[in-house]
Symmetry: C2
Subunit: 298 residues, 2 copies
Amino acid sequence: MGIPLRQLEAFHAVCRAGNVTKAAQSLGISQPAVSRLLATFSGSVGFELFKKEGGRMVPTPESAFLLREVERLLENLDNIGRLSIDLADRRAGHLRIACLPGFATSHLPQVLAGFLEDRPRVRVTLEPDRPERILEWIIDEHYDCGISDELSTHPMVESRLVGMRTVCILPLGHRLAARSEIRPEDLIDERMVHTRRDSAFFLQLNEAFATRGLNLDSRLETRQFTAACMLVAAGAGVSVVSEMDAREYEGRGLVLRPFVPQIPHRLVLLLPSGARSSMVALDFLEVFEASLEPFRIR
Amino acid sequence: MGIPLRQLEAFHAVCRAGNVTKAAQSLGISQPAVSRLLATFSGSVGFELFKKEGGRMVPTPESAFLLREVERLLENLDNIGRLSIDLADRRAGHLRIACLPGFATSHLPQVLAGFLEDRPRVRVTLEPDRPERILEWIIDEHYDCGISDELSTHPMVESRLVGMRTVCILPLGHRLAARSEIRPEDLIDERMVHTRRDSAFFLQLNEAFATRGLNLDSRLETRQFTAACMLVAAGAGVSVVSEMDAREYEGRGLVLRPFVPQIPHRLVLLLPSGARSSMVALDFLEVFEASLEPFRIR
DNA sequence: CGTCAGTATAACAAAATGTTATTGTTTTCA
DNA sequence: TGAAAACAATAACATTTTGTTATACTGACG
């Protein structure tokens, strides 16, 4: 059978203290208790643990050799104690996030940094990818939560929809910057930067033009709002993007104006369904959702 | 207080087995015992340890995180168990040997290799140096045993004297090789290779010449018998050295002949006094002493 | 030599860990 | 669906480990 832990603790304490009495004090138990633990331990290992040397208990070469291992063990145990407290407080664990590429660079880093500030033992894996892959990853439970823009109907995934406000962005000094708000008809002569033609957001935007009998001049297509921001700032055209992303790039050559009608960008937060999530993941998603509040519709 | 080890063992066993009953079997105890350990553990850490998933106990993300640490701990404990057995069997430990430089290359390696063969967990540090330093090191307990050629009177050091047979060595084809034994008078016209002028062995050798009214022709002085062997083999002269070293170099251009009178080379084995030695060190010294037997006087 | 600090031993109390018996739960499968 | 089977939880109690206090032993030291 294994060696009783208490014996190792006693052995360690005596090595450190140099005598049984002080060791007992440091363990918060009585001296005879330590004496006996030691005697039992010595009996079971089969060699002398200590030599008495001028009133001090000095480890024999053998037990000195053992001591190093025992110290490692006790440190390890200590670590487990603290870790389990952190886990209970949701201050430790592994948080695996799959997100749209745009988030990996623009809004998420701030939120994540804040989240980790008082959770020093949380380890994070951040994986940016396309929505279909994000969904797969959540289903396979390779990731704990996903930030995407496509709703899922998969039974193993719980998705939470968040409607995000969008704005029209213009390069600095653009003629339309004089307007207090922008409408589809203002943009008919503009080169538009927009998301993929098959994206839900583009379809809605296009619809806004179509119902007014207007044609959206599609020139530049990109997956990410962040890329659209950079393109507009560089003078490549104008765009309608999530206000959150626009704010991130404000001051770098962008002008923001309300777009009417308001077209929501549907963000989707994904979780494995059925309470299989880690507590840290749940906490994180809560924090993340709160961070979206200023840019949310209603 | 620390987490009781048994709870960690139970937790680990259930994670591996996937259900409490098998875990109990693997621990060799009853199922209710494991159930309770688990319940207590869960209560004290403050979070759920398992989710039941189709008849299997699956760790929650939190406890999966803990599990890795627990596994390390248990491995560590296992290791301590085996280590203490090895230490008791004198099959583990650290053996620090300080020796004369000659031994580091000529006789010791063989002996050491044999010694370590069935003591795979013994770690060795071998430090060749001059006799004075060897003594210091033993006194300071930086080394467990010393192989030297100077007796010590230091109270903290126990020294054991071993008289070693010496022989005269000649280069192959030397005129004296015809003799069955060599005497001082045979060597008066020879260039002598010998140990340091202030070494005990040289003084004895010189004495053998002096009492016969002869003069030892000192040409080549070296600390080591092994070096003397190489020099003689190379035709640099003749010498009187420990038979043990001579045998080591026999067949490499050396001829051995008895030297009369027999002058013992006094080897000295050193140990820290007062039973402060590790058991491995004592074992080693015993083995080493035995290895000297064939070359010992009487 | 007696004192003192420290260690070991004895006798017993409390806590942890084990047991068997039994009762709830799920899962599985006819 | 519902009964059998498999498994987990609980209860009541035995055993072992770990703790306690009281006291005897031991070696270092003035």
